[in-house]
Each structure stands twice: as structure tokens, then as C-alpha cells.
């Protein structure tokens, strides 16, 4: 047995020891079921008996903390990513020729030296594009290659195809470009001065906010900046295209949206969609960065394959990935608020000025979602939410976990703190005073918040379990005797709307086959980027058939099996695909029941699927035996399931409707310490209580919560995107762009699930979990402001996000009355 097959054997064999994970400090009773380690789906040794849930339901797989289906493969390095696929002989490699200026016109392009480099097989320019020069998701404004107008520094002008990646990367630098350059717009202010936007302005609200704020007992206004964020998925953008016959092409793409890759490849190559197959087994992280912006690289590989007739791969270098792909939008939020002496808001107005980069990309939805979350959890009698989608000569900003929601939400959390500083009330009390409640539960966009008690009770419980009031006193005492080091505390809530706000996207498909040996092939439109979607959906299907997890074969997402899908985004993966898979499995099961009822002469309601058997009246047969019988009886054993989210409506023109099926809730309490001489800081403790409804898989959900919180913490603290005024991204690699490392995680980190059931009929009454936890990190930002506030409680804290040590020191020096440079 060679080494590789040994490793493979290990990957499919039972885990050694079946060690139970240690119960984690601080995990509440809600997650105590995590202490029993279930068998991995790769192991064929054990079948757990079904256990009875709180409400009497008997479930064997759903709600169990099963490990990620690829876990054993991940740890051995045998989980295959696109760059790991063994290359067919003759595979070529592509590198991108980039514009050296941020704004202007390409006068001439000379690629003769590139072409003459030994090993270079082709140079692709706009002249090689058979179809449309457009890789945009919707608005037609993202060219594959620059035609004439240069829109940002780094924009793709051409591509080199060579025998090795090294040759391609070196050859690309030999191009000569003549450019008439113009002064670029880099900042929000640049774009405002030029009046350039990528999409029209948009606003909604109710009441006369100006009048209400003017008449209010107290008024505040300000400008608050929220920074962007690089996704830093560990696997950079990569695609591999293999040409077939009749001009068709198979594209392996690290994408959250295989359907869009398929459609755009077809559009650019001028072939029918049906000639393109896009396949995605797994991504090494996505976070929104591969929702629309994986497309360009897949299209480039496909075009190279078309032109050369050979397999072509493109894998961006990390620096290029930073420079060539969009990020979380940064915002300037111009706000004003009127409130009473208790700190209750009477009127709130905010202008959300989003820096979109050079094209629309997904900015329509991103900025809409920022607006939808500008209220967070707070009732606003008079409110006006306005937005501008500003055009800058920078890479086009895109989806990033939370999709604008975090930016809109952080602004109102900052305003809550401002109100607290102005009234002298505890910031948590100001938040309580403003929560949505019965009778005061209409959002600015006219949707009723039906679950008003959930968040209030969740926050009350967290206030207690985090000892918020006691620690508030301890911290005040510490700060009184500590002139340099200051501590801060904050408890912030999250209310996050679940559904794509573009209603038609709320649909999904799944394909389930049952074979004669009782094994099941599962496929659906959702993609796996590490979030555990595949295992959750597999749990649903195994549950439906009453069979062991190892009977369900999880397969790569491909447009050839499930077509016309939505991206795996908006936290919707398990809500949509889980339901679609349940529909498909349910339909097959129904046919199996009908057959069994008829052939055994037993009523359908006396037939039950469990323990890998089918119980038919007083007898039972193995699941695979019934499957075989069904096939012999010509019962179709394959089904395509489809699901669409009910209840949702949204009239964007009127700014009213029910854009969300439901809300997911959570809250976090963080304590920080700040060195007011340097701005250095550390999170000392974080307590999180989060609502995932009734969890499909608590281990996976806890992973999303912890990971999301830490990612959000990075966004609000150390992750800073710096562009030069010429448009160079100066923080273009992990050496200069700092995401959290292990030591940044709170040493005392207590995460628990809030026991709750989704009032809506979602898959097993669970709630979406992908994005909401990002915003739990607002507690860190607000705690940092709270610590700085201790320097002079009579002043507001001029802190913007990200709260880097420099931003913090700037705020500290301002409170000390000696503004820094």
C-alpha cells in the first residue's frame, strides 16, 4: 500500500478512540448535548439510537453535534481543493495583466514581449472574447478585460496563458501600456465631490424626522465611519476549465454561485448555458468574497481553454487576490437623533454613504441591507434612512458576511452610546429603553417585528449570566484608580433579517437518488465553504429516510444536477437547501410507502422508516431491501425537490413589505482593556447568547457563532484597508492586513445557544446562523469606546471603526484635550 492510499484508508476508517470532547467552560445547558461525540459519517461502525427531544420528537441525526463531513480529510490534507486536482497533461496556467493606473484611458497595449516569452502559449485580450465583455452579476458594468476606460488600479487588461504558473506570472510584467490617466476618486468625499454613483440614491422612512429631532428634548448629530474588510478566505480565488466537445466546457470554480459562473461563462463565450457545467466540491472559505467575484476568474480560465483548446487553470497570488477582488463596503454614516431624557429615541435620520468601488456588483442589495439594519433592534417613531452608492476608482466592493447589515447596525449602536454619554445613563439601559416592544414594533420599512419578546428575554438573560451590573461597578472602581490602563464593558444586541431581499432568490433545488443497495446520492444547489451546509442537509435526508448517515453520499455542487440556483449566501443555505432536500427525499419516501402499502396490504400510516429499516405493520425489512423491491416494481427512486420561502414580499419602490421571513437574534457582552498611551487593547472576556432557533447541528452552529464573532472583531479592530491617493491598496497581504490570530480571541469566551424555536416553519424550526454572529462583535467596538470614555466621562468618544491602536489613541488624546497631529 503506498503512502497515498494509506492516507486515504485512514480518511475513511473510524476515528481512533472516539474521544468525547471536553465540556467547554462556560457553555450553557443549551449546548450540553455536545458532550457526546457521534460517529463520523465516514465511519461505518455505529448507529446511534434516536433520542427524544424536548417536545417529544424522536430524532436520530437532526440536532446532533455531528462533526464536519470533511473533518478527517481536512486534517490529513486529502480534502481536495481545486488547485489539488491532478492536472491533465498539457494543462496551462493563466496570469492577469493589470492596469497600473486607477482612472483613465488605455491608449495602447503592446503584448509582443509577453507573447515572445518562451513558454507563453497565448495572450488573451478583448479581441479574443467571442461573446459579451461582461462578467457582472447584474448591471453589465464589469468588463472581463479593459476596453478603453480604466476604472481601478489593478483592473484586468489582458491575460497570459503559459505552460507554468511561474512563466505566466513573470511574462505578464512585460506588457507595455500607454495610458492617459486622470485623478482618481478614492474616498467617499472624492466621490461626493464628483457626484458619481454606481446606482441611484434610495431612501425610505416615516414621519418628519427633521421636525421631530428639532423639537426633541435632546439632539445629537455626527459623522461616523465604518471601515471595509478583506475576506481573507484562506484559499484564494481559483478556477480550472477543461474544454470538452462541440465547444462545451467543464469549469471547476471556487464559487458560492455556480449557476452565475455557468451563465456568465456562456455569456462571454457566446454559447448556450447548457454547454457549460460548473462544479464546486468545496471552497477554502468564501464569506461573500466568492459570491459574485469568483466569476471573473472562472470566465478567464474558460476563455483560455476555448482559445487554446487545453485545460487551463488560474489561481490568483494572494496579493493579486487582495488587489483584484472586492471587499466589504466602507461607509460614512451622517446621523442625527432626537431623544427624551430617558434616552428614548423620538427621531433618527441617517445617510448611509457607501463606497462601492467602480461598479455596481452587489451594491444594490448590500446597501439596501445596511438600510434594513439601520434600526437594529430599536423602535424609531420618526425615521429616515437614506443611502448613496458612491462610485470610486477602487476595486468593486461586494458581499461580505452580513452584506451591509453590520455597517448599518454598528452606526445605530454607536448612536446608542452617544445617547448614553449625553444622558449619563448606562448604555445598556438606553438600549433597553429603545427595544421594539408590543405596539412599537414596526420597522422603518413597514415590517412588523413579531417576536418582540425573544430579544428582550435573551438580553435580560445575558445581562444576568455575564454579571453585567456587578462588572460595571468593578470596572468603574478599577478605572478610578488606573490612570493609564482603562477597562470598558458593553452589551449589544443583534436582530438580523433572514431572506434574500431580492424575493426571487429565495428558492432552492435538491436532487436525491436512492440506489438498489440502499445508498443515497445527495445533491443540492448550496455550496460548501466550511460552514457545514453539506452535513446539515445530509442530516435532514438521513433523518427523512431513517437511515444511518453513512448511507448518504454527499456530492459536489454542480449546475448539471441542480440548475438555476441562488448563491449560497444571505445565511440561507440550510433553510433553503435543507427544505428542498427534505422535499425530494420525502417524495421518494412517499412512493416507497405507497408501494409497500400496496404490496403488503398495510395502510400507509402504519409504515415507518427508522433504524435503517422500514416497519410495515408488524414486520420490518431493511431499507435497502425495500429500495430494491421498489426498483423491480418500477417505482421511480430519484427526485428533484424544490423549495421557495413563503410569506415574503417587498415593494422597493414604496419602501414597504415583509422582506424577511423571520429575524435571528443574539447578544454579546464584551470586556476590554485599553492602554491609553499607545491604543493597544485586548478583549478580556466575551459572553454570547445566540438564537439559532432549534439547532440542526449545535456543534456546527457554535462554530459559526464563534468564528463569526472573531471575524467581526477583526473587522472592527485590527483589519484596516489603506488605499493611497493614487489608488494603490497598501495593505495587500497578511503581512500588512491583520486578521485575528489565536491570542486575540478572548481568553474567557463563553458561548451558548438561546433555547428558542423558530415560530416560522423552517427546516426543523431552526434559524439561519451564517451572518448574524458577525455583529456580535459590535460589543467589542462599543466596549473599547466605553474604556476610552473613562478618560473623561463628560465627553463623547470620537472613535471610528476599525478601532486600531491608532484610532483608539487618537480618541484618547482627543479626550485628554491634546489632539494628535
Amino acid at each position: 500500500m503506498n503512502e497515498q492510499s494509506k492516507a486515504f484508508a485512514a480518511s475513511t476508517s473510524p476515528l481512533r478512540g472516539e474521544v468525547a470532547p471536553q465540556a467547554r467552560e462556560g457553555v450553557g445547558s443549551a449546548t450540553s448535548s455536545m458532550s457526546a461525540l457521534p460517529p463520523h459519517p465516514g465511519s461505518l461502525t455505529r448507529s446511534d439510537p434516536p433520542t427524544q427531544g424536548e417536545d417529544g420528537e424522536f430524532l436520530r441525526h437532526v440536532r446532533k453535534p455531528l462533526p464536519h463531513d470533511s473533518g478527517p480529510k481536512h486534517v490529513q490534507g486529502v480534502a481536495q481543493y481545486i488547485d489539488d486536482i491532478r492536472e491533465p497533461e498539457g494543462t496551462l496556467h493563466v496570469a492577469i495583466g493589470q492596469a497600473p493606473k486607477a482612472r483613465g484611458h488605455l491608449v495602447s497595449l503592446d503584448v509582443s514581449a509577453v507573447r515572445n516569452t518562451p513558454g507563453v502559449v497565448a495572450v488573451l485580450t478583448i479581441a479574443d472574447i467571442p461573446g459579451k465583455n461582461d462578467v457582472s452579476p447584474a448591471f453589465g458594468d464589469d468588463p472581463l478585460f479593459v476596453d478603453s476606460e480604466i476604472s481601478f488600479l489593478g483592473q484586468a487588461v489582458f491575460a497570459v496563458v503559459a505552460t507554468t504558473r511561474d512563466i505566466a506570472r513573470r511574462a505578464v510584467k512585460k506588457a507595455v501600456m500607454e495610458i492617459e490617466s486622470e485623478t482618481p476618486s478614492i474616498t467617499v468625499e472624492d466621490a461626493l465631490a464628483r457626484g458619481e454613483t454606481v446606482l441611484p440614491d434610495y431612501a425610505y422612512g416615516r414621519g418628519d424626522v427633521d421636525a421631530v429631532v428639532t423639537a426633541a428634548p435632546h439632539r445629537l448629530e455626527g459623522q461616523f465611519r465604518v471601515g471595509g474588510q478583506e475576506h481573507f478566505y484562506l484559499e484564494g480565488q481559483v478556477a480550472f476549465a477543461i474544454p470538452g466537445e462541440d465547444g462545451d466546457v467543464h469549469v471547476y470554480s471556487s464559487t458560492q454561485h455556480p449557476t452565475e459562473v455557468q451563465h456568465v461563462v456562456a455569456r462571454v463565450l457566446d454559447i448556450p448555458d447548457s454547454y457549460v457545467t460548473c462544479e464546486t466540491r468545496r471552497m477554502g472559505g468564501g464569506f461573500g468574497g466568492k459570491e459574485s467575484q469568483a466569476t471573473q476568474w472562472a470566465v478567464t480560465a474558460a476563455l483560455a481553454a476555448r482559445v487554446t483548446g487545453r485545460p487551463c487553470k488560474i489561481r490568483l497570488d494572494r496579493d493579486d487576490d487582495f488587489i483584484l477582488t472586492g471587499k466589504r463596503h466602507d461607509f460614512r454614516c451622517d446621523w442625527k437623533v432626537g431623544f427624551d431624557t430617558e434616552g428614548r429615541i423620538q427621531g433618527y435620520g441617517v445617510d448611509l454613504l457607501a463606497r462601492c468601488g467602480y461598479s455596481a456588483d452587489l451594491s444594490a442589495g448590500v446597501v439596501d441591507r445596511a438600510m434594513f439594519h439601520a434600526d437594529n433592534a430599536y423602535w424609531m417613531p420618526a425615521v429616515h434612512i437614506a443611502s448613496k452608492r458612491l462610485k470610486t476608482n477602487t476595486v468593486s466592493n461586494t458581499a461580505f458576511r452580513g452584506f451591509g447589515g453590520p455597517q448599518g447596525m454598528l452606526a445605530i449602536e454607536h448612536v446608542m452610546d452617544q445617547i448614553a454619554w449625553a444622558t449619563g445613563r448606562d448604555p445598556l439601559d438606553v438600549r433597553y429603553a429603545n427595544f421594539y416592544r408590543q405596539g412599537e414594533n414596526l420597522t422603518p420599512y413597514g415590517m412588523e417585528v413579531e417576536e418582540t419578546d425573544t430579544l428582550l428575554n435573551l438580553v435580560r438573560r445575558l445581562e444576568e449570566t455575564s454579571s453585567y451590573r456587578e462588572r460595571r461597578k468593578e470596572i468603574a472602581a478599577f478605572n478610578a484608580s488606573s490612570p493609564i490602563m482603562k477597562r470598558g464593558l458593553s452589551l449589544t444586541p443583534v436582530k438580523f433579517g433572514i431572506s434574500f431581499t431580492l424575493t426571487h432568490m429565495n428558492q432552492a433545488g435538491a436532487l436525491v437518488h436512492v440506489y438498489q443497495d440502499g445508498s443515497v446520492h445527495l445533491n443540492h444547489g448550496g455550496t460548501e465553504m466550511g460552514q457545514g451546509l453539506y452535513i446539515k442537509v445530509a442530516q435532514v435526508v438521513a433523518e427523512e429516510f431513517g437511515i444511518a448517515m453513512e448511507r448518504v453520499r454527499i456530492t459536489a455542487t454542480t449546475t448539471a444536477k441542480v440548475p438555476n440556483t441562488s448563491p449560497t449566501a444571505a445565511s440561507s443555505g440550510s433553510d433553503l437547501n435543507g427544505m428542498a432536500a427534505k422535499v425530494a427525499a420525502g417524495a421518494i419516501k412517499k412512493r416507497m410507502i405507497a408501494y409497500a402499502a400496496e404490496s403488503y396490504g398495510i395502510p400507509e400510516e402504519q409504515i415507518e422508516f427508522r433504524d435503517d429499516r422500514v416497519f410495515i405493520g408488524n414486520e420490518s425489512i431493511p431499507f435497502d431491501e425495500l429500495a430494491k423491491k421498489c426498483i423491480l416494481a418500477r417505482v421511480p427512486m430519484s427526485e428533484a425537490g424544490h423549495y421557495k420561502t413563503p410569506k415574503i414580499t417587498w415593494d422597493r419602490a414604496k419602501g414597504t413589505g415583509r422582506p424577511f421571513f423571520y429575524f435571528a437574534y443574539g447578544a454579546a457582552c464584551s470586556e476590554v482593556i485599553v492602554d491609553t498611551l499607545t491604543g493597544e487593547n485586548r478583549v478580556l472576556r466575551t459572553d454570547i447568547l445566540h438564537d439559532v432557533g432549534r439547532s440542526l447541528n449545535p456543534a456546527i452552529d457554535i462554530g459559526q457563532i464563534e468564528g463569526g464573532f472573531v471575524q467581526g472583531m477583526g473587522w472592527l479592530t485590527t483589519e484596516e484597508l489603506v488605499f493611497s491617493k493614487e489608488g494603490h491598496l497598501l495593505t495587500h497581504a497578511p503581512s500588512t492586513y491583520k486578521i485575528p490570530v489565536a491570542s486575540d480571541v478572548p481568553a474567557d469566551f463563553r458561548v451558548a445557544l438561546y433555547p428558542n424555536s423558530n415560530r416560522e416553519e423552517t427546516i426543523y424550526r431552526s434559524k439561519a446562523v451564517g451572518e448574524p454572529p458577525i455583529m456580535l462583535a459590535n460589543s467589542v467596538f462599543c466596549a473599547l469606546a466605553d474604556a476610552i470614555h473613562a478618560l473623561d466621562p463628560s465627553k463623547p468618544v470620537p472613535l471610528n471603526a476599525p478601532a486600531t491602536p491608532e484610532a483608539i489613541l487618537r480618541a484618547c488624546e482627543a479626550l485628554r484635550g491634546r489632539p494628535m497631529g
Binding site: 489539488d84 484562506l234 494572494r318
Partner: protein, 493 residues
């Protein structure tokens, strides 16, 4: 006689490789030649750790494993070592304890950083003293970025996997491996290639001096933690490489009563203990230096010779009054370390001359040493400002100060105005500190860049002078620091 192939130990067998381009990285060798694709490229600059592999070397009669970033390690640098990758750990159909703990604790999500994390934990499993603390694990993971999990489950996995003594297949094979490695150590010069393109690794200073005199256009490579980026990011041709890792005399540490002398090829990991013994702040600085991977490859001599204005070692060693020794051909000379740095990326190094060693005076009883590294992120970050202070006291009065800063000028540079202003002031009279706090603004005109603005750097520099004086006055750090407290933990409570 020179050898014309590298030899290393792999899966219990010696491997010989020759005829490779000198700039070939270990990662490209693994992925493109061996086609072992478990090891990932995440950033190709030694920061994310996805490419981490373990390198085994014999020390004190047994094999010790260290993590390295394969993306910026030249293939030639593995000569004489054992190379262990993520595919090698599971044996006999069983996961390695580190791997099974990672699965059980849900330590992987997207899985792309996981091979590197597993390899970092593998070295921790082999090397770390038990019991293991969370802080120790955090240090071991500082060079492994994970974007999905938030690290908590990974640290829990490490705690479990490293709860007992190492007893995996590698621990059991240690003696065999040690013999295999010893068998490959022939003491010959290594020269792979021809006069215009080669990877050379001389085995003695004499060979090095002769080869470098002949090819003064060659690139001297020590740990390759910076030169690696010239290749992966700068697309440097790097046709002539002289790697110093086999020069027998350059990796010595000489610990005398008043001085510590560190050979140019001593890695940061090897230098750690000696520097920490000089002062805890120096230990803390080294703990935060790069990452475990960078400290295992990067060398003291390389960090100095490279002349980076943001290298962390030079300001510390300058403040301590260190001396640098260089050699060209048969000639050696010693200069004060601060004189080595002439201007941005320009050093006092003659053609064909190389850094031999640095001699560091130890702290005396009447001296107070303080080092502060200020960066966006505590771990694995480059300093925005690095301030290092050595204050000589006569009772409560400062008689002399040596101060050096990194990140404040084009070179690591002394704060001569501030030093002068500090001489004669009293620690117990903060009102007398004003001149010194103002003087720092005359010492440096810092730059604006993506790490920090000039205003921030200037303010921090002034505040660090204040902090150093406050700490010297009180003898305590708990009121002035978040991490790196000098008091024992119980005193900090």
C-alpha cells in the same frame, strides 16, 4: 569535494534531489514535483501558515521538530533534515492524536488552513513541555491564520492532544531517524548548478569566504524569511544563491559573564533563551518576533544584515550597545552595531563581506532595560513603533540613557537628543521629565504609511518615553501594560 545534490529524510528514507533551480521553494517541490498537495499555499509570504511543514533536525542526540513555512523556504535549505508533511501523520489507518483531536473538537471548517495548523500542532506535540497552557498554544499558532473557527476549538484540540507525553510513530522512530540524519551529515560543501546559476551551501567559513569573493553578486541566504518574498512576490530571478545554513562555525552561541555572542546563523528560536536571560522584555520581544515558523527559520544575522528599518532585533541590540563582526576573505572587523546602518536599506557591508556574529553586553545591576513593541496586532505583526531603553541609574537618578527606536526612521536609530535630556533627571520627579518627553520629537521625523501615521508614531514614541520612566520609577508594569507583565502573575492579580 563538493556534493551536487541535496539529501534529506522523508518517510523513513533518504531522498536525493539535484538539478533544481536555486529559487525552487520547498512548497513548489512538494506540490509540483512530489505531487503531495496536502500542504497548501495561502499567501506565499510566510504569514498565514497554510504551508507549514515540520523539519526534523538532530540536537542533543534526538530529533527535534520545528515548523517552517514551506512557501518561502528554498528547497536546498532542507539538506540534512527530515521533512514531514501533513500526509505523513496518519499511519496504519489511524489518525495522529493531533488530527483526531482536531476532528473531535470541530477544529476545521473550510479546512484550507487545517494542514498547516495540524503541522504546527504536530511540532508542539513533539516538543512542548507539559502541561501546556493556552498561552503557549496561542504562541505556537501565531503563525497560522484561520478565518473560520475563531481558534477556540483548535486550542481545545491542542490541549487534549498534548495532554500526555509524545508517543506517536515519530517519537518511536526518533533513534532511527537520528541515525539516518547523522548518516547524511558529510561536512562537504554543496554546489548544485553551474557558474551562472547555482545553489551553494559551503560547509566552512573559509569555503564561504572564497565562494563569495568569487561571486560577490550572489545572494546570501540565511533563513530566507525575507529573500523568499523576493522570489514569490518580487519575481526575482535569484540565479546565484549561497545558503549559509551549513557553515559550521556560524551557528554558535557563546555565553560569557558580561556578554552573549550570537553567531549569524543562530535562529531566533535558538537565540531566545539567551536573550530572555538578559532581560524579560527581550524575551517578550522575541516571543512576539514573527511566528514560530519564522523564528525557526529566520536568523539573528539575517535580521541584522537585511537592514530593514522595521526589523525588531536591531533597535534592541543597539540600545544594549552591541558589536557586529564582519568578514571579507581573510579579514574580519568589528563595529558598533548602530554604525552598520547607513541609510534606508543601505548598510556598511563591502562586496563579498558577510556578517559573522554579534556580541551583546548583558544588563548590569544599576541598569534598567525596557522594550516596547507597538503594532496593530500583538502577535505576528511588524512594529509600527519599537522603542528600546537602557537607563543607567545612580540611586534614583539617571546618569546615562541609551535609546533606540525602530519604525521611526529609515534605519534603526538612536534617540540622541532624548538620551541627553534624560541624563541627570530624577525618577521621583515627573516634573523633571518634560524636556526628555519633548526631545523625542527632535530625534525622529517618522513616516506616514499603512502601518501608522507620522502623528501616531510621534505620539507613541513620546508616550513610550513616559512609560519607560514610569516603570523605572515604580518598578512595576501592571499599571502600564496589557501583556508582557514583568511581575510574577500572582503579583499582578
Amino acid at each position: 569535494m563538493a556534493r551536487d545534490a541535496i539529501r534529506f529524510w522523508r518517510n523513513g528514507q533518504p531522498i536525493e534531489v539535484s538539478g533544481f533551480h536555486p529559487r525552487t521553494t520547498l512548497l513548489d517541490y512538494l506540490r509540483l514535483q512530489e505531487r503531495r498537495v496536502g500542504t497548501k499555499e495561502g499567501c506565499a509570504e510566510g504569514d498565514c501558515g497554510a504551508c507549514t511543514v515540520a523539519i526534523g533536525r538532530v540536537r542533543d542526540g534526538r530529533v527535534h521538530y520545528e515548523p517552517v513555512n514551506a512557501c518561502i523556504l528554498l528547497l536546498g535549505q532542507v539538506d540534512g533534515t527530515e521533512v514531514v508533511t501533513v500526509e505523513d501523520l496518519a499511519q496504519g489507518g489511524e489518525l495522529h492524536p493531533v488530527q483526531s483531536a482536531m476532528v473531535a473538537h470541530h477544529g476545521s471548517q473550510c479546512g484550507f488552513c487545517t494542514p498547516g495548523i495540524v503541522m504546527s500542532l504536530f511540532t508542539l506535540y513533539q516538543e512542548a513541555e507539559r502541561p501546556l497552557s493556552r498561552e503557549h498554544i496561542n504562541d505556537a499558532l501565531a503563525g497560522n491564520l484561520c478565518r473560520c473557527t475563531g481558534y477556540r476549538p483548535i486550542v481545545d484540540a491542542a490541549l487534549e492532544a498534548c495532554s500526555g507525553a509524545p508517543q506517536d510513530a515519530f517519537a518511536k522512530a526518533s533513534e532511527t531517524t537520528a541515525r539516518g540524519l547523522a548518516g547524511m551529515a558529510d561536512g562537504h560543501d554543496l554546489f548544485i548548478g553551474n557558474e551562472t546559476r547555482f545553489f551553494a551551501a559551503p560547509a566552512s567559513e573559509a569555503s564561504l569566504a572564497a565562494l563569495y569573493a568569487q561571486h560577490s553578486d550572489a545572494t546570501l541566504v540565511a533563513g530566507c524569511t525575507d529573500v523568499g518574498l523576493w522570489v514569490t512576490k518580487g519575481m526575482a530571478e535569484l540565479d546565484k544563491v549561497i545558503w549559509l545554513g551549513r557553515v559550521a562555525s556560524l551557528d554558535r552561541i557563546e555565553n560569557e559573564a558580561d556578554t552573549l555572542t550570537i553567531g549569524a546563523m543562530v535562529t531566533h528560536a535558538q537565540a531566545f533563551a539567551g536573550l530572555q536571560n538578559i532581560d524579560p522584555d527581550l524575551g517578550e520581544l522575541m516571543r512576539r518576533f514573527g511566528s514560530a515558523q519564522v523564528r525557526a527559520s529566520g536568523t539573528v544575522g539575517g535580521n541584522i544584515a537585511n537592514g530593514s528599518p522595521i526589523g525588531d532585533l536591531a533597535p534592541a541590540l543597539i540600545a544594549l550597545g552591541s558589536t557586529l563582526e564582519l568578514r571579507q576573505g581573510e579579514t574580519t572587523r568589528a563595529i558598533p552595531l548602530e554604525n552598520f546602518f547607513i541609510a534606508y536599506r543601505k548598510q556598511d557591508r563591502l562586496p563579498g563581506e558577510f556578517v559573522r556574529r554579534v556580541t551583546v553586553p548583558k544588563i548590569k545591576g544599576n541598569e534598567v532595560f525596557r522594550a516596547y513593541k507597538v503594532s496593530k496586532r500583538f502577535d505576528e505583526d511588524i512594529s509600527a513603533v519599537l522603542g528600546v531603553f537602557k537607563l543607567t541609574l545612580d540611586g534614583r537618578r539617571i546618569t546615562q540613557a541609551r535609546i533606540a527606536f525602530g519604525g521611526m526612521a529609515g534605519i534603526p536609530k538612536r534617540a540622541v537628543e532624548t538620551e541627553a535630556a534624560l541624563a541627570g533627571i530624577f525618577l521621583d520627579e515627573p516634573s523633571s521629565w518634560g524636556d526628555a518627553l519633548a526631545a523625542i520629537a527632535r530625534d525622529y521625523q517618522p513616516l506616514d504609511d499603512h502601518r501608522a501615521s507620522a502623528a501616531y508614531r510621534a505620539t507613541v514614541a513620546r508616550n513610550l518615553v513616559f512609560k519607560a520612566l514610569s516603570e523605572a520609577a515604580s518598578g512595576a508594569t501592571r499599571a502600564t501594560r496589557i501583556i508582557g507583565l514583568r511581575e510574577p502573575l500572582e503579583a499582578a492579580e
